[in-house]
Amino acid sequence: MQYCNHCKVYIRENKQKCTLCDNLLPNYDKVHIDNEYFPNIRPFYKKHLAIRIMLFISIVAVVISFAINMIFPSEINWPVLFLFGIISAWLGLIFIVQKRYHIPKKIIWQVLIISGLSIFWDWKTGWRGWSLDYIIPISCIAAMIIMYVTARIMKLSISNYITYTLIDGLFGIIPILFILFDWVKVKYPSIISVSLSIISLSAIFIFHGENIKKEINKRMHI
């Protein structure tokens, strides 16, 4: 153990300078630095370098596309579409990363994001109705199937996914409005989504009614 004459304290670890006053310790040239009490911990920032590079590339690409469009004007405002494309990709990515610890929640968020974005894109590109025709019902169906499969594979306990299955089931019924108000040209994805939702909801209430009640009590307690 070394001794700092200035602070009048012993320094437990092997180091060259005093922790308190930062002066060189008497035997500074002979110490062999070992991590006797605390491990040497790798810096954290390197792990995030990939995200930073991606962010940088996105910004560069958007700036260049606007610049090119200003120098060589074209009839369609393609840089704006490009910008929205990149924003859409980032939105998806952010939610995947943020909710990565909770897969059922992540699936629900993806359904909401995909539905929202598809309506937005459909509307911006001259409303041909493909978002309501295909994207929304199909993403609801896909979510239900993915949720069930992941729950089985990852052996999630009922309480982990039942609420999200319920939300997805309720969301999947919405396409019934598309059919009733005649908003869709192609009907079969909506019909499948609605029927699957009704089946899955009835299964939840019949077989897991108690669990649903318990979950709601837990989550809604005031």
Partner: protein, 423 residues
């Protein structure tokens, strides 16, 4: 049967409610209790000891989840695993949506560290858990050596007593409404500034010394150990701050263990915090005067009536129908704002978590215990074991002026100290 096992979930107690909302990667609200042995830790035996200890603390297998109005603890079947230390001190434990236990047990060479998210329990609860863990560890590790001399583990309380929400049990609505709250703190106290450590790591400087030496020094000033150290902290902060700030009051937050006052043996949170202020504008900056003033503050605050009104005040807030029906994200926001406003009133804090009780037979295997916390500002935590007292300075800043001033004062008064730091 206890509450968690029956329903599968339980509410957060009053003190816990603030931690999930206010924890972030800068201030993780995690604290670490370390036990340093004389020999390297055996991870396999540590795991066995942990498996045994968790049986006595089933509540520690809870995970924290978000409801619509409040957070709640959900019982889980996750078993804690010991790990080789690989993260910075007090790294985040509670991460939104991640289903993990709210404590971790890590080891490195001679040290066993238990890190806990503060919503799960306070220092006294974690000390108790640590005592149990070390008891099992040494009993297994040195079974042959100890022979028939292995002392029994004292359980101290039943499982349900350990899970008690002592805030809820001691709350009295009628009395709470009578309290006229009087804010004694100045609206703004001196704030310590500094250069942040890389990646918001916490710098911990721990000094290990003889409990008796320090007690004798405190007695020379005719006061108790905690009052003496609190005063010395104020004195050191004042000494190191820039001259243009010298008039600002310095306020310390001092957590108080409520268990002895309310006869509780819970292993969850049961503490309150008092504020002690020294006004430098109207008083001299001599240590003797600071001690005198702090002594009085301690006497005024540390009585049953004062603590009871404090407890009721916070419970009244929690029980208010309006606060209860506000959705959680909005609650989170308001709690964070209130916490920031509260920060401005506080300069630092000192927390004496008390003594470790380990059977005499085990003394020869244990060098010392220490406790440190994640910190938003430089602050002190201390604990003692036999004649070894460890004072830890946790700080988000690189500067060590206050630490130096504080420890030099002690060393120049003849206290022999060993200093250890992580960064």
């Amino acid at each position: 049967m206890n509450e968690v096992n029956k329903k599968g979930w339980t509410r957060l107690d009053n003190a816990s409610k603030i931690f999930p909302s206010t924890s972030d990667h800068r201030d993780t609200k995690v604290f670490r209790i370390s036990c340093e042995l004389y020999e390297d830790v055996d991870p396999i035996i540590l795991q066995q000891a942990l498996d045994l200890s968790i049986e006595s603390f089933p509540f520690y297998r809870s995970i924290l989840r978000k409801g619509v109005f409040w957070y709640y603890f959900e019982s889980s079947d996750i078993l804690p695993k010991v790990e080789l230390e690989s993260q910075p001190i007090c790294a985040p434990i509670y991460i939104k949506d991640r289903r993990n236990l709210l404590f971790r047990v890590v080891y490195y060479k001679k040290r066993i560290n238990v890190e806990t998210f503060h919503a799960l329990c306070d220092g006294a609860g974690a000390i108790w858990f640590m005592e149990t863990l070390i008891h099992h560890y040494i009993s297994i590790k040195h079974r042959d050596d100890l022979g028939d001399n292995i002392p029994d583990l004292k359980y101290k309380a039943s499982i349900s007593e350990k899970m008690d929400d002592s805030f809820g049990r001691n709350y009295n609505k009628k009395q709470a409404k009578k309290i006229k709250s009087k804010e004694k703190r100045p609206s703004k106290s001196y704030q310590i500034r500094g250069t942040k450590n890389d990646e918001y790591k916490t710098k911990v400087v721990e000094a290990s010394m003889s409990t008796n030496d320090l007690l004798n020094l405190a007695h020379e000033y005719d006061t108790t150990l905690t009052v003496f150290l609190a005063s010395l902290l104020i004195y050191s902060i004042h000494k190191e701050r820039p001259a243009r700030m010298k008039n600002k009051p310095i306020t310390l937050a001092v957590p108080i263990n409520l268990r002895p006052f309310f006869n509780s043996t819970t292993a969850r949170n049961f503490f309150s915090a008092m504020s002690i202020t020294y006004d430098f504008k109207n008083n001299t900056p001599e240590l003797e005067n600071i001690i005198q003033s702090i002594n009085k503050d301690f006497k005024d605050n540390l009585n049953e009536k004062e603590l009871y009104s404090h407890l009721n005040k916070f419970m009244l807030w929690e029980q208010n129908p309006f606060t209860r029906i506000i959705p959680l994200p909005i609650k989170d926001f308001f709690i964070r704002v209130a916490d920031k406003l509260n920060d401005i009133k506080t300069t630092s804090s000192i927390s004496n978590v008390g003594k470790f009780n380990i059977p005499k037979e085990f003394k020869k295997y244990i060098r010392q215990f220490s406790i440190c916390v994640s910190a938003r500002r430089p602050l002190i935590t201390l604990c003692s074991y036999e004649d070894r007292l460890v004072i830890s300075f946790s700080s988000p800043f690189r500067e060590t002026d206050i630490q130096r001033s504080f420890f030099q004062f002690l060393s120049h008064r003849g206290i022999e100290m060993e200093i250890l730091s992580n960064l």
